[in-house]
Each structure stands twice: as C-alpha cells, then as structure tokens.
C-alpha cells in the first residue's frame, strides 16, 4: 500500500489519508451504502451498488492511473485465464495460466527471491493484493470442475475479487459461498440480524481499538526497556514474547469481526477467521482455529492434493501418516512464507511447517506407543490439555518472534539475556502460558455456568446489549484519547 503522507509543509493542505478499516468513517460510509443497497431487491441493482462500492473503495487508496495499472492488469489477466480454463483449455495451458497467476503475484509483491531488476520501477497499489490473489487462484483452480466459476461474468468477478468488506485483509471467501449470498437467496437481514451485525462490529472495534492498542503499548514499552537485572530481563523477555500473539489476535480478529458485521449489512456472510485459537491443545489444532479462511484454503488447494498425489504413489500404507506430516510441513511452510517477502518470513514458514509436522509425528508415535484409544484418552486429560495448551501457545509466540522482530534485534536480546536468561525466559513463557490460559479457561467455564432459567447469563441478549454498549463507549473514549490514531491491521501488509 502506498503510505498516506502525514507531514505537512507550511502553505500546503494535508493530504487526505485512505480510509482505515476498521474505523468509524468506514462504518458510516458502509451504513449509507447498505441503505442504498437495500433500496431494491433487484440483483442487478445490488450488484451495481456493490461494484461502485468495491471500485470506489479501491480508488480511495490511489487515483493515479499508473499506480492502479498493475493491479488492474493482474485482475483482468486473471479473469481472462479463468474464462479460458472454464471454456475447456487443455491441461498444459491450464497449468501455464495458474503458474502465470502465481508468478504475477510474486512479481507484483516484489518477493525477495526475485531479482530487483525485474520489478516495475515505480510505486503502485498492492493493498489487499494477497487476498485478491487467493480468490483469483481459487477461481482458476475451480474453473474446470465448477461451471459456475468457469463462466463467471466480469461484474461478478470484480465484485467477488474486490469485495470491499474483505479487500484489505480478508477473510478469504469461497466463490461458491459468495455467489450464494449475492444470488437469489441472500442471507436474511431482519432486526435480529442487524442487532447481531452491530454486536460484531462493536466487538471488532473494541478488540481492535482498545484491547490491541493496550497490549501493543505494553509490548512496545517492554521492548524499549529490557532491564539489566537477569531475572527481571528473563521475565520481561517472556512477557514480550507472549504479548505479540495476543496483540496480533486482538488486531486481526478485531478487524475480522468488524468486517463480518459490515458485510452482514449487505446480506453477505463472510467466513469466520478465528475460533478461540489459544484454547488449542496442539499446533495442528491451533492452525484450524487461527486465520481459518487461509488455512482452509491451503488445506483444500495444497494439503489435500499433495497428500492425494503422494498416497497414489506410495505402496506401504504405514508410511501414509508420515506423508501427511510432510504435506502438512509444505502447507504450513507456504502459509508462513505467504506472510512476507523477506527471509524473516522464510524462517517463520519453516518453524510453522516444522511445528505441524512434528506435532503430527508425535501423534503417530503416541498412537503407536499407547494405542489409538489410549492416546485419545490421554489427550483429553485436563492436566495434559493444561500443559499442551501452554506449549502450543509458547511455540506460536516463538514463531511470531520473526513476525515483529528481525535477526539483529533478536540476537541483541539473546546476547543481553545469555544462555541462562534465555532458558529462564523460555521456562517462564511455557509456565506462564499454561497457567494464564488455564485460568482463562477456568474463568470462561465458571462464567458460562452463571445461568438463569437454565440458560447461560452471558449469552442473554440483555447482558450482551449492556456489554456491547460498554464496549462501544470504551472504543469512543480510546478513539478520543488516542485522537483516532490507532494502529493499522497487521495483516494489511501481507
């Protein structure tokens, strides 16, 4: 994305920054647009309104034709490929098209493994390109088997790939689901749904504006002041490492919740991206709860085909589970490297791939050692879950070190802590993770036990209304205090 220039010289008016998501200005514009969208139930009207909105939103990031040109070329070439595949292109042409989409994406995103000389010599728009890429690739991969994807019209293609509610940072919706929502049977939009949408919007704003901001502030202060005392430094390093996944969760899940709520105003149900990821007692399960739309996409288009392909070539059925571990490694390595173009994200990808592959290998070993039923029983033991949850969280936090930091900074921290300090920090991180997540889980269970008439009090719409109002007031207060200068969605940069 092109950064909005904030500085101002004497005699110059400030430049208008692009619309931030989530924000009240985005919400106000979306509500007005939703009113317009709801004026008629005619599909052409609604598609037209969505197209204007989607293109209009994209144009808020730049209005320079040259800066838009690569984006437009990628989209239009993608459309041509999808249509050509849908019309029955031969297998080699299909493969060439898919490779061209991949190559176009890596080239436009300036991945560091490509030589600099290949890149365009000017700055251009790339906001949301990663998410557009997944949608285009998904259409190209499905076009042969799914006639609806293969015969997609330009209007529907643009509305699907540029869906303004999910442009900036997803979630990645399957075309078939999107088409159903914008087709003859859109999601209902009554008073109840409006209330639920408002609740999601407020909850998203609260997570993004209040909780993420508080955790980020704490993390920054910890990063800036690593104490000299070795014990304090180890505790500080453990906290610093633990804070980032929490921040990232509030930041990204806040954004996701907000856009899911906004999309509901347009009768579109976006897929969920999070399902209490820190409750996961294993790294594999963690990835089925975190950024779910991305991991599901990769499972469908990388993991499953890879495993199927390998299974067809393997004669010994005992090696199949290990092949699964290999396919998991490739899939989650790709998830890691997708996040960024530098070596940091390569390391992140290796750690993620290694995490899921080792997790799978451990499962196989445990099942072989105890037998599958006993291994399953063990994995449900409260103490086992208590420890496994803390370990999973610690591994997540460890892999994310390469997300927010880099080698020079990490080596500076490591040098400052020494071997003993690092061991102490790791122990504190694991122990703290186990205890904190265990406590949170216990609190959640206790809170859900508070019931009136057999129904948990926390799920009452009266309690939720009060809670949503309190969250909204907190958001307004923090927006005022921080002068609306909250951070951006971390995933916008990927």
């Amino acid at each position: 994305m092109l950064p909005a220039r904030a500085s101002r010289r004497r005699g110059c008016r400030p430049e208008r920054p692009s619309v931030q998501v989530p924000s009240f200005s985005f919400l106000a514009a979306a509500v007005l647009a939703a009113l317009l969208h709801g004026l008629s139930s005619d599909r052409r009207w609604r598609s037209g309104v969505l197209l204007v909105l989607n293109l209009g939103f994209l144009l808020t990031f730049t209005r320079e034709p040259l800066q838009l040109a690569p984006y437009a070329a990628f989209l239009l070439l993608g459309f041509a490929f999808v249509r050509r595949i849908g019309a029955g292109a031969p297998a080699c042409t299909r493969a060439a098209f898919i490779l061209a989409i991949l190559a176009g994406f890596f080239w436009l995103k300036r991945y560091s493994f490509l030589p600099d000389a290949l890149f365009l010599p000017f700055s251009y728009l790339t906001v949301g390109l990663s998410y557009v890429f997944f949608r285009v690739l998904h259409l190209a991969l499905d076009a042969r088997e799914d006639p609806q994807a293969g015969r997609i019209g330009l209007l529907q293609y643009l509305n699907y790939t540029l869906n303004f509610t999910a442009l900036v940072s997803g979630p990645i919706q399957r075309f078939q689901d999107y088409q159903r929502m914008t087709g003859p049977a859109p999601a209902p939009l009554g008073l109840t749904q409006l209330g639920l949408a408002a609740e999601r919007i407020v909850a998203g704003l609260f997570k993004f504006t209040v909780l993420a901001a508080v955790v980020q502030l704490a993390q920054r202060q910890l990063a800036a002041t690593l104490p000299a005392d070795p014990r304090q430094a180890a505790a500080c390093a453990a906290l610093l490492t633990a804070a980032y996944p929490v921040y990232l969760f509030f930041n990204f899940s806040g954004y996701t919740s907000f856009v899911i709520g906004v999309a509901r105003l347009f009768r579109i149900s976006l897929p969920e991206n999070f399902n209490q990821p820190f409750r996961a007692p294993s790294f594999i399960e963690y990835w089925s709860r975190w950024h779910m739309s991305l991991s599901n996409w990769l499972k469908a288009y990388v993991y499953n085909p890879l495993l199927l392909h390998a299974a067809r070539r393997v004669r010994n059925p005992k090696s199949l589970p290990y092949l699964g571990a290999g396919a998991l490694f490739v899939t989650f390595f790709l998830i890691g490297v997708w996040h960024g173009r530098t070596w940091n994200f390569f390391v992140f990808g290796v750690l993620n791939g290694a995490g899921v592959a080792l997790n799978q290998a451990y499962r196989i070993w445990l099942a072989a050692l105890l037998g599958r039923p006993a291994a399953t029983r063990l994995s449900r033991q409260p103490l086992y879950v208590f420890v496994a949850r803390g370990l999973t969280f610690s591994w997540v936090a460890f892999t994310l070190l390469w997300f927010w930091s880099d080698w020079p900074e990490l080596s500076r921290y490591a040098h400052g802590l020494g071997a003993g300090g690092l061991t102490a920090a790791a122990a504190m991180l694991i122990l703290g993770g186990c205890v904190m997540l265990g406590l949170l889980q216990a609190l959640r269970v206790a809170a859900m036990r508070l019931a009136v008439g057999g129904q948990p009090l926390l799920t009452s719409r009266y309690v939720r209304t009060v809670w949503a109002t309190l969250m909204l007031m907190a958001v307004l207060a923090v927006t005022l205090v921080t002068r609306g200068g909250g951070g951006d969605v971390v995933y916008k940069g990927f």
């Binding site: 400030p14 639920l196 709520g261 799920t459 609306g484």
Partner: protein, 366 residues
C-alpha cells in the same frame, strides 16, 4: 432468559416486541450508568472557574475589577490562576498612581486577551513585555493593564481615555477578531427566534458537561484534525466573521484614540491577537474570505498607527494547540510569549522611551 444464537448465519429468531423497548432502554441506562459517575470524577479532577469574582459590574462604559481584589480562575485544561488587581482595578502589581521617577510605563487596553485571562500573571503579554524591556533597558518598566473581558467594541475609546490619564510612554491596544464584532453579536443575541433560543439552550446544557468539555479538549488538541476542520471551513463559502461595518466602526474608534493620544504625545501600538483558527488558517494555502489582520493593518496604516501582526512571527512548526486553551480558545502562557516577543521588539524599535542603548542590553546579558 432471552437468548440469541451468536452465529450470524443461524436461523433468525424473532425479537419479542417488548425487546424493542427494553433493549434501547438498556443502552440508555448503561450510558447513563457510566456517564454520570464519569462526569462527577471529571468535575473533581478538572475544576473550572471561568468567571472572575473580582469583575462583577459590567454596566459602565469600561469594565473594571474591584480595587485591590484577588480572585482565582481556572479553565479545565489549564492551571489555577491568581488574579490580583491594584487600587484602580487593573491587573498590575504596581500602583496606578503617578509614574515613579525614572520608570517607564506601558498602558495596555483591550479585552480578555490583553488582560491575560486564565494565564498566570508573569506569563501574560503585559508582564512579559515589561520584564523584557526592564531587563533590556536596565530601568523599571511597569505595565498598567486595563485589559479585561468585555473591554472591547464601544469600551475601547473610553478605556484608552482612562489609560492615557496614567501618563504612559506608550499605549498598547490589543485586538482580536471577536472584539471587532462583539457589539454587533451582542445586539443580535437579543433578537433570536424561539427555536434558535431552544437550540442554544440545549447546546449550553451539553457544553456544561465537563465530560464533553474534556472530550472536546482531546479532539481539539489533535493538530492535524483541527487543521482539516479549519481548512474545510476556509474552503467553504462561509459568511465573514467580521463585517465591513465592524471594520468601519473600528476605524472610527481608532481615529479617536489616535487623536487623544497625539494630544498627549503618546505613541499608539496596535497588536492583533490571532485566534487559533486564524493561526491555523494562515498556515493553510487558502486565504480567509475575511482576512482580518490584513484589514486591521490597512486601517492602522491609514490612521498612522504602528501595527503588529504576530501571525508573521509564530513559527509554522509550533503546534497551534500548544499556544491556546483548546476548548476555551484563550491564549495560554506560551501564546502570550509570542505576542510579548513581537511587542517588545516593536517597542524597542519604534518607541523612543524603550529604544535602549546597546550597552544597557549588554550589561543585562552579562
């Protein structure tokens, strides 16, 4: 217990009719439950006393504080300020009696900005100017400050008359755009329509909330956001805040002041005190539809008066929010420092009584 499935794609449950009343009431009750205690806390944390207890009689041609009176004022976003008035009711520690031998005297007139309203006395333009000139010249310099809220418009000429009786070495007239239109706006206020009156009462009720006040102070402290607002207003075809009639009236009043001062051989210096909006507006690309400082400068030139426009001397990188009480709109001590610097420099350059020799300055510096 009323339940709703949290999943947005779940089959819709019909909302009972009673909930159409209960849910909005719950929202209101929650807001009140949070806002009321917050208002109490904010009132205790940020007290506000913006009426000067020493200034009670506003009926005369010139507003005076009660002689030898002491009061305390405070804007919510500023410090407590002690106001001490001398035997004439001027905000000056020195007596208003005959000028002491060897001393220099500045007489300052104008409204609240001239009086340094809500600003600690040593930080006011009058005190800073007197101190700087005394330091530069090595002689006592006192500033008899007749400035008080309300001494604008028709009070200007009688106030100048009173100031000239103090035998000053210079008469400093401080003006704001608001001073120019004060009389007209006061007259209009009496003729508002009932619905306008109701709207203004509602607005006053909201303004009375300290929570709203502090929220505004946070919003207005945002330099870029405030600049955007000002530039949007500049771009709009807004009615000018100061009319041609206001300017004509000012010219006639300044002509009287100039004549009276000339009779006593007292030079007159006109200082324009910009509002924050004018300062930010002047930093923008567009010109105001009514360029008040330029118009006053033109009047001063025609009347042969020295004119100071501090807009030209405040550096562009100084945040405007640091110079004003952002909600109250009055200049704070840092804002007064810029006014004082411009005034000191002009008095030393243009008024013989303050044109000190280089030696005196060097002695002070040493």
């Amino acid at each position: 217990m009323a339940q709703i499935d949290p999943s947005p794609t779940a089959p819709a449950e019909r909302l009972p009719r009673r909930d159409l009343v209960i849910l909005p009431l719950l929202v209101l009750a929650t807001i009140l439950g949070v806002v009321a205690p917050a208002e109490v806390i904010v009132r205790r944390a940020y007290p506000l006393v913006d009426l000067d207890a020493c200034v009670s009689d506003l009926r005369g041609p010139v507003v005076h504080a009660r002689p030898r009176c002491v009061s305390r004022t405070k804007t919510a976003e500023g410090p407590w300020v002690v106001n001490r008035y001398n035997e004439c009711g001027y905000r000056t520690p020195e007596s208003c009696g005959p000028k002491p031998a060897g001393a220099r005297r500045i007489a300052m007139i104008g409204s609240s900005i001239a009086g340094g309203f809500l600003t600690p006395y040593p930080q006011t333009m009058a005190a800073r100017t007197a101190a700087a000139l005394a330091a530069a010249c090595g002689k006592p310099v006192e500033a008899q400050n007749l400035g008080l809220a309300g001494n604008n418009g028709r009070s200007l000429a009688p106030s100048a008359e009173e100031a000239l009786r103090l035998e000053p070495d210079v008469l400093v007239v401080t003006l704001t755009s608001h001073d120019l239109s004060a009389d007209r706006l006061a007259a209009q206020r009496g003729a508002v329509r009932p619905w306008t009156r109701l709207a203004s009462r509602l607005r006053e009720a909201v303004d009375a909330s300290r929570l709203v006040y502090m929220a505004r102070s946070l919003v207005l402290a945002d330099e870029q956001g405030y600049a955007s607002l000002v530039h949007a207003r500049q771009g709009a075809d807004a009615a000018p805040a100061v009319s041609a009639g206001d300017l004509a009236l000012l010219e006639s009043r300044l002509a009287v002041i100039k004549r009276r001062a000339a009779e006593r051989d007292v030079p007159v210096v006109l200082v324009f005190a910009p509002s924050r909006e004018e300062l930010v507006g002047a930093r923008g690309a567009a010109r105001w539809p009514d360029d008040v400082p330029a118009a006053i400068g033109e009047i001063a030139r025609r009347q042969g008066l020295d004119f100071i426009d501090p807009l030209q001397t405040i550096p562009a990188d100084v945040p405007s929010a640091s110079l004003y009480y952002v909600v109250n709109h009055h200049m704070n001590g840092r804002g007064h420092a810029y006014l004082a610097a411009a005034l000191t420099s002009r008095l030393r350059a243009a008024v013989p009584a303050f044109s000190c020799r280089a030696g005196a300055v060097a002695r002070q510096a040493g």
